[in-house]
């Protein structure tokens, strides 16, 4: 008995020690990780998480113009949102806007990337022009388009009229306003999307094309069978980022339409801005912000679930 006992004991101490060392190492690597992450974590906590919690907190209150809470209302702000026709319309507009903006941006950028991927003389110049809209700020781009859409002086209506068509009330006709704002947004987003897609194209292994050439495949066959599938990870990235950005569109709405006509271009972020900056209803604004956050989260999660499986990784 006494013979066995100590052995077990040493065994246990050994195990204990090993455990301790392991735990120490774990602790050490955790601390090291934290050291590298700390600056980011601190800033995110102060400027993203804290405001987020504050927003959630505020969404359960009514506030005065200074933003101080006055009356606790529980879920009332949320309940009010789901029967508020203006908010419901802004949600609908936001989804429509994403639909009008993201697919055309990706398709146009893809076409541009494909033609800019040919080895031609002076191609660098064209690539630079195509990516140039990335360098134009929202404020400047909106001013350009505000003028283009101008009903009297604007270039677009001038072109329509000289070609014998009726002028369009771009920003004041509810049928057109959201499309007009989308067109502006597409223009602004093309630069970034183009750059990424072009890069994606260039990283496709050229031997794939060579073997297709040997088989005598046509241009569009190669496009459909090689280019598009090989680009799918790039598509996935571009679409995810575009959707998130489009959900958060603000500047062009503020300058072009201010949400009009009759709330026809009132997107969720603009609606939040208006509740907070014009109506001083920080409670309602916060509730809208929380709903928007959840919507974006769901959209992104859905994308990762449904789409990422189909993405073709090299």
């Amino acid at each position: 008995m006494s013979m066995i006992y100590p052995t077990i004991e040493t065994n246990e101490t050994y195990l204990h020690q090993a455990e301790r060392v392991k735990r120490q190492n774990q602790m050490k690597s955790f601390l090291k990780g934290m050291l590298f992450l700390l600056p980011s974590i601190i800033l995110f906590s102060v400027f993203v998480f804290y405001p987020m919690f504050k927003t959630i907190y505020l969404s359960f209150f009514l506030t005065n113009a200074q933003g101080a809470t006055t009356v606790f209302t529980g879920w009332d702000n949320y309940k009010a949102l789901f029967v508020d026709p203006i908010f419901i319309k802004s949600v609908k507009n936001t989804f429509l806007f994403v639909f009008y903006t993201v697919p055309p941006t990706v398709i146009i950028s893809l076409i541009l990337a494909v033609i800019a991927n040919e080895k031609l003389k002076g191609i660098g110049f064209f690539r630079t022009v195509f990516s140039s809209t990335m360098g134009v700020s929202v404020a400047a781009a909106s001013v350009f388009w505000l003028y283009l859409f101008n009903p009297t002086m604007g270039l677009l209506n001038k072109v329509l009229e000289t070609s014998g068509l009726d002028a369009i009330e771009w920003l004041t006709d509810p049928k057109w306003a959201l499309i007009a704002v989308s067109a502006t947004t597409i223009w602004m987003n093309i630069g970034f999307t183009f750059l990424i897609l072009l890069g994606g194209l260039q990283s496709i292994d050229s031997s794939l094309y060579e073997s297709a050439d040997i088989e005598g495949s046509g241009y569009f066959y190669k496009l459909r069978r090689i280019t598009i599938p090989m680009l799918s990870p790039t598509f996935f990235f571009v679409i995810t980022v575009s959707i998130i950005n489009t959900f958060q569109t603000f500047g062009q709405i503020d300058i072009l339409t201010q949400g009009g006509p009759a709330n026809g271009t009132n997107l969720i972020v603009y609606s939040i801005y208006r509740e907070a900056f014009v109506n001083y209803q920080f409670g309602a604004a916060s509730a809208q912000a929380v709903v928007l956050f959840i919507l974006i989260l769901l959209m992104t999660a859905l994308q990762f679930k449904l789409v990422e499986r189909k993405v073709h990784y090299q």
Partner: protein
């Protein structure tokens, strides 16, 4: 692979048409900025060339000061983002510790918090820190960036693990490895993130407007807004001159860095 002549012509035609369409709005703005107000209002082709619009824009506002401020703010944000996101990306790739994945998803989630929605709480923080009208107030909130961390993480993953193992054998600490191996290897991505960070900071509007109350730290985008009137008739020529002044620095940067930018962004996106 040589393209046939016919094919070449087709591509050039397509390229030229697309380039004209895309650059159209900016070209129009540049032309308008040199037109007289009468010509613009009546909507005819320019009859006279004038630089009055630029003189008026510079005369009305301290645009040079605004440009300088924009430059400072953009550069500081760019550097801050490079430092913070490369550190964070390193941790996510090379260090193994409990809760790493959770933290990574937490980082990703911050991308989904719309900035305009949290702008007022953020403004209160700046106020309490006494950072209104300082470069710190304009820049520090943007140092931490998920996009940057994500981009660099994808790039760092390309670095062979064997390299780290070798460095461990040589007795190299994490920070030294980070500075002497990881950063130099990822130059392209760093340049990409730098340009991207610079462009986005240069283009901010709502935050600089809130975080500054006078011209000492104001940025150029607010200047553009100030050229537009509320109850009087807009002078489009002056506004376009302002817009041209605003976009020229970013366009130059883009032209210079386009190749690197494209390469780096793709690496983040594809792999």
């Amino acid at each position: 692979m040589m393209l046939s002549m016919r094919k070449k012509i087709v591509f050039y035609v397509l390229l030229i048409i697309s380039a004209l369409l895309l650059a159209g709005p900016a070209i129009m703005a540049i032309v308008m900025s040199f037109m007289t107000n009468q010509d613009i209002l009546t909507g005819r082709l320019p009859t006279a060339f004038t630089i009055d619009n630029y003189i008026a824009a510079f005369d009305r506002l301290p645009l040079l000061q605004f440009l300088f401020n924009s430059l400072i703010v953009s550069i500081v944000i760019m550097l801050g983002q490079l430092i913070l996101s490369s550190l964070a990306a390193y941790a996510f790739v090379f260090l193994e510790f409990k809760g790493r994945d959770f933290l990574f998803y937490l980082f990703i989630a911050t991308m989904m918090v719309p900035f305009e929605a949290s702008v007022i709480p953020n403004f209160h923080i700046i106020r309490d820190l006494n950072w209104i009208d300082t470069y710190a107030g304009l820049t520090v909130p943007f140092f931490a960036t998920t996009f940057g961390t994500f981009l660099l993480r994808q790039n760092f993953k390309q670095i062979p693990k064997e390299l780290r193992e070798a460095s461990l054998i040589a007795g190299m600490g994490d920070f030294k490895f980070f500075l002497t191996v990881v950063l130099p290897v990822s130059r392209t991505s760093l340049v990409t993130l730098g340009i991207y960070g610079f462009l986005t900071s240069w283009n901010m509007y709502l935050w600089p407007l809130l975080a500054s109350t006078n011209d000492t730290v104001r940025t150029i985008q607010i200047g553009l807004k100030q050229l537009q009137t509320q109850e009087q008739l807009n002078q489009w020529g002056v506004i376009m001159a302002g817009a041209v002044i605003v976009i020229i620095p970013t366009l130059i940067l883009l032209f210079l860095g386009q190749k690197k930018l494209q390469k780096g962004l793709t690496e983040g996106a594809v792999k």
